[in-house]
Amino acid sequence: MKLRANLVIGGTLFALAVLVGVLAPWLAHTDPVLDANLMNAEEPPSWTWWFGTDDQGRDIYSRVVYGARVSLTVGIVSQLINSVIGVALGLSAGYWGGWWDDVVNALTNVMLAIPSLIFALAIMAVLGPGLTSLLIALGLTNWSFTCRIARASALSLRNQGYVQAATVLGYGDLRIMMTQLLPNMLGPIVVIGTLGMGSAVLSEAALSFLGLGVRPPFPSWGSMLSDARDQITTAPWLSVFPGLAIFLTVLGLNLLGDGLRDILDPHSRSRRT
């Protein structure tokens, strides 16, 4: 019962967030950047301004709706990059073993030694702010869990009869990895990926909050909160809605990940992710 509640609530929240992002142009009341009008500055939430307006008179509701695009793009794409890197490294390391395994292990240890948000910050420092930089920074810094899981599965799978049968049949390494190993480790990888998307959304928000994310004035939930901080005494509503949007999106992904884990990865021991 609880299992289904996780999946349903999580899936709904995430689907809703995606829908809002996709349909942003139709859902938004005004243009999130251009429709600034100082006449409407700092209006509290009302029937006209659902979530209120900021100090430049921009409609917060429209900005939150458009902000979904940044958060979800970064969340989904950067986690995909992480998953691909993690699976590629972990799978090949576990399958081939030897020096390559040592290299991958060393690399993973280094990654685990640097807190991922700080690593992302460093990369942003080098690349400068912007959406592409965000995707790269967050896509390169959170693959170690995936890598470890993929490596462990590959290690245990490679001695299974059907994998060895494929070797005997003369299948190439790449083909064996893609057709025999990968499908059998997909469950946990998907679970980690879902949870990782949640943390990528949080990291994007954090970096944008620090002024290292998407360039203003384009709306991102993190940078909106950064603006809101300075006006918390005069316009507290500015802080409410972007934060709520982040919370609901991440909550959806976390619940979805937990629900998927119950289904796909019933033997998972630790819930450490």
């Binding site: 685990l112 700080i118 420092a125 991440v250 909550l251 976390n254």
Partner: protein, 318 residues
């Protein structure tokens, strides 16, 4: 009689030395990474520092900062300086980075340990209580709190806490370090501690639930112990091993998140130094801050490994 393996204890010291040696390659790799990352910066750092693109000024600046040597020479010099505890000179303030870091180390340590203490003291018992009656009221409530705590953005939570406790209720200062007292520490530490608390509650719950199915717990019950005693005498210490792992790993996460929280509350720690330096492209300060954070994280994990030896006798005899 039956053979008994491993009576002689491997002394703690040699264990420590072995672990230290294992850490060295990681440290070197991180140093290299941090160095390379900032040596491949597209465009000249110097040109981004000064608005007037006078080539002569630029050249002089470069020479002054030692940026015109070949990369490997610079790396060698960098390592040599690091070994003496010299992190270089800040582009921005012309101060030695080591001194800047030293000034800011204490506030960050305060913040991180306060947050860690708060999250452990609250999260671990919460997980225990939840696990004793899985599916019960406390369990459900605890798990809702936990998933909420993990899903909330730290700086948003901080904003809300700041608004309520500082601005509306006026109980505590809204930001700044002040005299470094508890008054100033409370809100940032609370903000930073919420998501580790949630994580510890979840990990503890899962660990306890798993240990409760172990054979030795059945043995304990067969001795005629109450469930409370079973947990106190047999489950707790075993759960501690798993909780400790999570705590050790979580220090890394906390150091990352501290950056955001320090910035939000204008807390003068290494995190805000890092952000300010990144924003102003003060490369030596960025490198220094990152290295210090990584070294601290590795040191803490070393400490955690030593604690394992104390808690779990099996480790000592590895």
């Amino acid at each position: 009689m039956e053979a008994v393996e491993g009576r002689k204890k491997v002394p703690m010291l040699s264990f420590l030395i072995r672990r230290l040696l294992q850490t060295i390659p990681t440290v070197l790799a991180v140093v290299l990474l941090v160095f390379v990352l900032f040596s491949v910066v597209p465009g000249s750092i110097v040109s981004s520092m000064s608005d007037d693109a006078d080539p002569q000024v630029e050249l002089r600046l470069k020479k002054q900062l030692g940026l015109d040597d070949p990369v490997h020479v610079r790396f060698g010099a960098y390592i040599a300086k690091l070994a003496t505890g010299d992190f270089g000179t800040s582009f921005r303030t012309r101060e030695p980075v080591t001194a800047m870091l030293a000034k800011r180390a204490w506030p960050t340590l305060q913040l991180i340990f306060a947050a860690m203490a708060f999250s452990v003291v609250l999260g671990v018992p919460l997980g225990f209580i939840a696990a004793l009656r899985p599916g019960g009221l406390v369990d459900s409530a605890a798990m809702i709190v936990a998933v909420t705590g993990l899903s909330i953005a730290k700086f948003w939570l901080g904003l809300v806490i700041m608004y309520v406790f500082a601005l509306k209720l006026g109980w505590l200062p809204s930001f700044g370090y002040g005299d470094g007292g508890l008054k100033y520490l409370l809100l940032p530490a609370l903000t930073l501690g919420v998501s580790p608390m949630a994580l510890f509650a979840r990990t503890t719950r899962a660990a306890v639930l798993e240990i409760m199915t172990a054979d030795f717990v059945r043995t304990a019950r067969s001795k005629g112990m109450s469930e409370t005693r079973v947990v106190k005498w047999h489950v707790m210490r075993n759960a501690l091993v798993i909780i400790l792992t999570t705590v050790g790993l979580q220090f890394g996460g906390l150091m990352g998140q501290a950056v955001v929280v320090e910035k939000l509350f204008s807390w003068p720690g290494i995190g805000s130094l890092l952000v300010d330096s990144v924003l102003q492209r003060d490369i030596p300060a960025v490198q220094g801050s990152i290295l210090v954070v990584v070294l601290a994280f590795l040191a803490i994990n070393l400490l955690v490994d030593l604690l394992y030896g104390v808690i779990d006798p099996r480790i000592r005899y590895a």
